[in-house]
Symmetry: C2
Subunit: 336 residues, 2 copies
Amino acid sequence: MAAVSVRDVAVRAGVSVGTVSNVMNHPEKVSRAVVTRVQDAIEHLGFIRNDAARQLRAGHSKTIGLIVLDARNPFFTDVARGAEDKAADAGLTVILGNSDENTARESTYLDLFEQQRVHGVLISPYADITSRLRRLRDRGIPAVLVDRTSVDLSFSSVSVDDLAGGRVAVEHLIAQGRRRLAFIGGPMAIRQVTDRLEGARRAVAVNRDVYLEVIEIEALSVIAGRTAGAEIVARPLAQRPDAIFAANDLVAMGVLQALMMQGAHVNVPAEIALIGYDDIDFASAAVVPMSSIRQPSALIGATAVEILLEEAADPTIEPRQVVFQPELVVRASTRG
Amino acid sequence: MAAVSVRDVAVRAGVSVGTVSNVMNHPEKVSRAVVTRVQDAIEHLGFIRNDAARQLRAGHSKTIGLIVLDARNPFFTDVARGAEDKAADAGLTVILGNSDENTARESTYLDLFEQQRVHGVLISPYADITSRLRRLRDRGIPAVLVDRTSVDLSFSSVSVDDLAGGRVAVEHLIAQGRRRLAFIGGPMAIRQVTDRLEGARRAVAVNRDVYLEVIEIEALSVIAGRTAGAEIVARPLAQRPDAIFAANDLVAMGVLQALMMQGAHVNVPAEIALIGYDDIDFASAAVVPMSSIRQPSALIGATAVEILLEEAADPTIEPRQVVFQPELVVRASTRG
DNA sequence: GTGTCACTATAAATCGATTCAATCCGCGGG
DNA sequence: CCCGCGGATTGAATCGATTTATAGTGACAC
């Protein structure tokens, strides 16, 4: 097995291992001639340094751990992309863990990241893990919450104002003349869901004649949305809402499919207006292009990495709460 | 900084570091009493072993590197999921790299994985990287190609018969009575695209009266599909195809949206039948549920990991080519 | 009482890159 | 001609977990 180490490079270049290391990490300390000689040797032998050894000495790795609630949700894919790009600028890599809204998986990934002595952790938490994060921080691994604020503000966070988002969505529906609204979302254990619902409630509260029905579902998925949509289609016309606010776009797409299905054929938006949340790519690509609440997903990821790097560099820094404002995107599904 | 090492655990348990290591890795070599004493100490101190040190000694890490062409494509997400689950069974983790059909990014991830001395590499290659993979193998890092067969069969691969898939899709369209077909896909540098097209051509070849038009697009994305679809809608009726085979579901969804857009309102499938490829979740959730060619994506990932582990355990093993057969899924978009 | 066997536990060596104190070299100033 | 200075280079120590050869312990047979 032809494992090439600094030692081999050193021998071939006729220098010491220390010099080889310097060529790679502090080239300004080494003479021009030696630099090229060593680089030739590296090139010729195809030397690739052993990260484990480097990490062991450094005390921490050049990776950032990111734990998301659902790797298949385009919103998180976008967050991850933003984080990756920002991290790459600093020479770091992001490893992605998918907790799948599962406490055990979440905990496993935290263990894994601690074993790897990652540079820092970005997490969209599911369970209450503040004590776990506190321990990580005590050991020099900072953490930043993503898409959620920390309960006690002892950690930095980057999130979007879900309350405002919920309010804006429903205000828009009301402005379009809708009065019998339905909120479809769940499970209520997820903070984003309850926040969006609360925002919706507040918008409704200032209008006497508007009614808001809440339909709770098992998961924020296309399938769950379709089921809820089918239930609405099955109702007599008079009992149907005239507008639906779905907790995210996946749910909204499921609802849309149920509404337009063979046989049902509810006219969107004439009979029922529909608005989602997240503004994923598929939202604009839906048959009835869907109104949605846009979150600056890539920016969220990038900002989180930025804060993480600051905290890694200076652990005494004060935690910061960054809250982005969401943006209403009006498309055909609520127009008219 | 309270970094806890085996040494601290050893002191607290009143044993040597070697014994602590044995408790974790070869508990059968240690007496009951000592095992519990050490475990208590580990628990109490919150010890989490340093992976870098472990890796350094072992010579390779407990991670598998996976490089995909497009992390946002649900097909690859599913492949990744299958790989993750299988890897987890063996106590390994998967790190995901997104080459984004970009030679530089692909190469960067290969470097990264080699630095990390990963257990093995799974890759859906973009550029020709056989020589790179050969070097990895010489250094004890096996590689398995995913969704693509190796040119010279010197590497194992797990793929789906794209030729058969293309043929089956078009045979189905022809069986439905369609004669003026269009294939929408690209870029032609991607093997899967050309294979599916070639399969389509063969199905057409045996039918004298069937015509196949090829519309090349820039990328396998919703947007590119929408653009191509708009172009078709703009044609006079007589020049439109009566059936479209899209190179994947993302493209098909774009096409579908263009066909059904405000003003266009082409009836699918009455006027134009539409079939995609991959059978992603969104395909069945589309307004006109979309026919597609299903690939056993999670199984592909799982199988690839399986082969990788075999090769890692015994490097002298012969490379294997596993080819799954795709499956036609008929839904409303081609029925009638 | 001694030798042997079977367990346990220990100490030291090891993996490979980095770092820092020590050394070397060449050259200008005294 | 020697000293001293500064930049270049070296080599040994280091990170922490694993492993291997070694030593310790007790039981048991002779």
